[in-house]
Each structure stands twice: as C-alpha cells, then as structure tokens.
Amino acid sequence: MTDVRERVAALLAEHDPATTDRLDFLRARFDAGLAWVHFPEGLGGLGLPRAQQEIVEAELAAAGAPDNDPRRIGIGLGMAAPTILAFGSEELKKRLLRPLWTGEEVWCQLFSEPGAGSDLAALGTRARRDGDDWLVTGQKVWTSSAHTARWAILVTRTDPDVPKHAGMTYFVCDMTDPGVEVRPLRQITGEAEFNEVFLTDVRIPDAHRLGEVGDGWRVAQTTLMNERVAIGGRSTPREGGMIGVVSDTWRANPDRRTPEAHDRLLKLWVEAEALRLAGIRLRQQLANGAPGPEGSAMKLAFARLAQELSGLELEITEDGLRYDDWTLRRPDMVDFTGRDAGYRYLRAKGNSIEGGTSEILRNIIAERVLGLPSEPRVDKDVAWKDLPK
C-alpha cells in the first residue's frame, strides 16, 4: 500500500512551501495524488481509503503548506467534484477536476428555481437537443458564487411529457457562455450573497452532459448526498459561535438585563452546549465509522438556536433599534460574528431555509429516521407538463 507520508515528504522536498508559489504548490500537490487520496490516480488521488486524507492534511499543515481555501470553493469540492467523478467522461474529469481543486476555477450550482425550491424535481429549465449540443433556457435562483464562477453544475428538464423525476438531465455549464446572465439577489440583510441566473438559449455541448439523458434526478442525488455536512474537523469550544457573542453582550450590558431574558438566555445556553456536545458525539461516531442520523437534528437545532439567540440579543443589546449597514454588499461567505446584532437576527432567518428548509428536514427525519409513513403523493405518475404549478 502506498505510504502517504512518503508521498507528502516527497512533495514537500520538491516544493518547499516557504518558497513555492501558492498555486504552483497546489498544482503539484494535485499531481502528486495528494489532493483527495481516495480519488483515482491521475485525478488528484491515489485510490486510497478516504480516512488517509487526514494524515495528508495534518502533515501538510504542520509543514506550513498553503491550502486551497476550501470554504471558498465548497460547491466545487463538495458537490461538483464527486458528481463529475461518478458521471463525467474521462476527458471531462481531466479537464475539470484539477482547476476545480486548486481553486483556479470556481464552481456554482444551478439547481433551484423560483418554482422549484423544496420540490427540486419540479424544475422547468428546458434543455432541447440541437445537433451535438443542447440549448438551455430558464431561470435559476439562490446561486452563490455565480458572479465569480467559471463553471456550474446544472439540472434541466429535457422531457416534459414524463413524470417529473424521469425527464431531467444533468450538465456542466460554462458560465462564460453567451446567454448566461447573472444578477445579484438582494436579501433582507441588505447584502446579496446569492444570484439569480437567467439562461437564454445557452449552448451546451452534449459532451458536457453528466449521466444519461433523463437520468438527471439520480445524478443530482449524488450531488446532494455529497453536500458537505456542516461538521468541521474540530469540535467547537464552549461558547463558540453565536452563543458566545450573545453571552458576552449579556455580560457587557447589566442595564438591559431582566429576569425573563436571563432565563431565556440560560435555556439557550443549555441548548447551545447540548448542540455542541451532540456535535462532538457525531464526530466521534464518524471517526468510529458508525455515523448516525444526528446531523439532521443538528441542522434543525442550529437554525432554531441561531434565530432565538439573535432575537434575544436585540433585546439585551444597547442599540437594538440600529443597524450597521444596508448597502448592497456582495460577501464571499456568511460571517455571523463580524457584524452587529440586527444583521445576525436577519441573516439567521435564512438558516431554516437554505440547504433544505427545516420543514423538509422534519419530513426527512420523520420518514427516514423514525420510519413514519409518507403522505399520499399526487405528483408521482403525472407528466411534468400536467402538474399544477
């Protein structure tokens, strides 16, 4: 078996992080198969068990090597890459994975539509065959990074005459192509983390298709299954995150304390601590190779806690009636701690909507974890075009 430690040592010997250009180092790391060791050789990996990646990361971090800023390119790493690996042609894999991993090419995700949110399979963006190409027209929404992305993963409707899950096809889409228009989507916080993307006769070569025609739903499932679980590698310290901010606000503002707010804060403190502990437990399960379904409980609890905490914070802060800035900013990522209480209050409202609403999550928990029966379905056997919209 390949010894990844030796590989890392060889990489570091040839490319001293202290003197090598960041991008050169990342490219070399990819070529050495140390990007994601469980990927095949030649595609940034070594065909090794996934668990060995941790060794690589630890050794490289210890050597002061640059990383590929994974938070910035999460969609590429977490969603696009596994899908391309599973369904792309060899040519596509060769062309796309290296710049994806190094961050040279940013990816975005063209899934949700104004009429297809929780019900992704209802989407209506049409792709029609045109010789060796497809012509794609439709509107996508909630696309983060669309304005900086070079590529997108895209799900379309290719056959409206069959039930909705059966008539979808999956592509990679070049965001620099004519017919792709990106508009910022302003949120209630004032900023625009996301975009609307309008596609008008965008020409996509059939070679950029992932999976079979009509098999887009299954391909999309691969993407979504790989959506990064919101569990970092390390456990949060006590009072990490929003509970710490709010606790400090409490400590700093004795004037605004009331017995009622006190008990509410303590309740939330208890829940935040229990959520932190549940996270530790989940990570220990994962490390043990026996992950439970508790991740979905954590997302549900996280959203509720963030909302209740930020609501309380506005009551106990000195200037709850003020806001820091309504100007339309375009942040790279959400920062709950860098801004003021009003921002946290408003932004946290999105926590129970983005990445699957809390309502959908409760359905999933009820059916998949608790095994409760599903509701009667009225949309299973109806052609997409005949569904009420």
Binding site: R186, L346, I353, P388
Partner: protein, 348 residues
C-alpha cells in the same frame, strides 16, 4: 367591574375602511420599499392626507381643532398603519399628543395640539424609542422615532416637559426601515409646560403602548393573511403548499394567537378611552402579548414564504423589522410583564 366594549362600532369600521383604502393607494409595498432607502424615509404627503382625513387628531378635542373622538378610534388608525407599515410619524406624534393632552391646561400645550391637529406642525416626544426615559435634561436623546420630520419636540427634563426646537437631528441607520430613528440634540430648554412632566410622560407611554398593541395586531394580521394567500397559490409536490398539514397547524395556531391579541388590544384601547381604573393592567397585558404575536407572525411569514421571503424585493422583511423594533419599543414584553406583576399582586 362591568365588561369592556370589545366590539368595533360602525363608525370605527367606516374610519378603518377610509384609512385602509388610502394606505392601500398611497403606501403599497412597492411605494414603501422605494421610499425607505431614500433621503426622505417618512412620507409626509401621505401624512398630510391622513391629517386632512382627521386620522391623526382623533383624541384631540374639537375645541383644539381635533376630532374629539378618542383612543378607540386612534387604535383603528394604528392598526391600519401597522397593516401597511406606513412610513408616517404616527407613533412619535401619538406620544406627543398624549403627553400634551395630559398638560392641556397649559396654553402652550393647547397651541401645540392645535397646530398638530391642523397639520401645521409635527411634534414628537423626545424619548429613546427603546430603553429608559432619561430623568435629567439630556443634551442628546438617542434613537427618537419620527424625529426627522418633527418641527418641535417635547423634552422631559427637570421634572417638567419642555417644548423645544432641536439643535440637530442626525439620521441613524435603523433596523426598522419604515419607522427609522434619529439622534436629537437640544441646545436650549424651550418653553416649560405647566404640570408634571413625569406624569405626562407616563400618560404618553401608556397611550403609546396601547396604540403600539393595535399596530402590532395590524402587522400580525397582514403577515397571516399574506402567508395564507401565498400558500394557496404556491405549488410544490403537485399540491398547494397550503394543503400541507404541518403548515396548516402552524397557521391555525397563529390565527388563534391573533384572536387573543386582538381582544387584548381592543381592551387596552377601550380602557384608555374610558379612563378605566384597569388601564395599566390592560395595557401591560396587551403590549406584552401583541409584541410577541406580531414578531411570531412576521417570523412565520418570512419562513413560510421560503426563499422569496428572504429577498429584499418581497415586503415581508419590512414587517419583520417593524415587528421586531416594535417589540423593543416602549418596553420589551418581559418588562411589561414585570409591570403587571406588581399591578396584580404576583410578586417575584
């Protein structure tokens, strides 16, 4: 104690219809959204139309140019202002009106009420919208609602209430886009009105809280109605989203809360209108309940609209911001409950 009158009269409903029509016409969602980021966040044209309609001077006696109606009628207007999140100086003006009515033996107070009734001036009570009222004369009063359009201020200072022009009125980036606050600085102490400033402010806070409760009922109702309408026409999984039972149950619970909140708000307005001995209890009950219900309604409205509710272009956020700011305004629900505890002998 005989039962309060918790029905609205035909006259009150006619007033409601008039105000609602006007606001639907002049303060629809697009108009409000367009205005809030402008340099004139309050719509003074709309305000003047409300003045002409008599909707801003209902509790002011006819002898002073007002409508000589009362706080029940004013509550109807407050509710409609809430339903439209109309960007008009209703609350600041209401607080000043109540304070001035309390001191209405004073001729300067009478003159001020007259000029408010006619629309000639906008007088605003210079207190921080959230947080305690300062005892001594504060040179700068932070976060005063509606101050940006005030021509004069009532400033509590040295146990009295002073009618003053501000030295400066500084805009503040406000959480509530439709009722922004300003920092106001005073240089001189103006005219001191005869009578107790403290009891005038107390009176203003009582009336203001009752009107706020009515406003919160309006906010909550808009949020419920708008959400129900959206969920009827939004389809997912081949069904109207409003046919999903979990959402139906949440909306039924919300409706139930609004039924209680409405009764409490009507009771507070009626108590105020009839100078009931029960007014303080009625206001504490209404304000603590309606605050909570309005915030919940607005939060549910955003959540149940899904992504669209998170966008700037949908008006839901205007209601969320107003509801949350209203919760902080004139005392949080927890503070009103603490007041109640001493009123009804439930010591902590």
């Amino acid at each position: 104690m005989s039962d309060p009158n918790l029905l609205t009269s035909d006259v009150e409903e006619a007033l409601r219809a008039g105000v609602r029509d006007l606001l639907a016409d002049k303060a629809d969602a697009d108009a409000v959204l367009g205005r809030v980021e402008s340099s004139s966040p309050l719509d003074m044209d709309l305000w003047r139309t409300l003045v002409d309609l008599g909707a801003t001077s209902l509790p002011i006696p006819e002898s002073l140019g007002g409508q000589g109606a009362g706080w029940r009628e004013a509550a109807v207007v407050a509710e409609e202002v809430g339903r439209a999140v109309a960007p008009v100086p209703f609350l600041g003006s209401t607080l000043a009106t109540a304070a001035l009515l309390h001191l209405s033996d004073d001729t300067d107070a009478q003159e001020a009420l007259k000029s408010m009734a006619s629309g000639e001036s906008v007088v605003v009570l210079a207190i921080p919208l959230s947080g305690p009222v300062d005892g001594p004369l504060a040179r700068t009063v932070r976060s005063v609602a509606d101050a940006g359009v005030a021509t004069r201020f009532l400033v509590p200072a040295d146990g009295g209430l002073h009618l003053v022009e501000a030295a400066s009125v500084e805009p503040v980036v406000s959480l509530d886009l439709t009722r922004p606050v300003w920092d106001v600085t005073f240089a001189d102490s103006g005219v001191r009105l005869t009578g107790s400033g403290e009891s005038a402010v107390d009176s203003a806070l009582l009336a203001g809280s009752a009107m706020l409760a009515a406003e919160q009922v309006g906010i909550a109702e808009w949020c419920l109605t708008t959400t129900v309408a959206y969920l009827k026409q939004r389809y997912q999984f081949g069904r109207p989203v409003g046919s999903f039972q979990a959402l139906k149950h949440r909306l039924a619970d919300l409706w139930q809360s609004i039924v209680l909140a409405r009764a409490a708000a009507l009771n507070a307005a009626d108590a105020l209108a009839t100078s009931s001995a029960d007014t303080r209890v009625a206001v504490a009950v209404a304000q603590s309940l309606c605050s909570t219900v309005a915030v919940r309604a607005a939060e549910e409205c955003v959540q149940l609209h899904g992504g669209i509710g998170m966008t700037w272009e949908h008006p839901a956020h205007l209601y969320l911001k107003r509801a949350k700011a209203d919760e902080l305004a004139l005392g949080t629900p927890g503070k009103h409950r603490a007041t109640l505890a001493s009123l009804v002998n439930l010591p902590g």
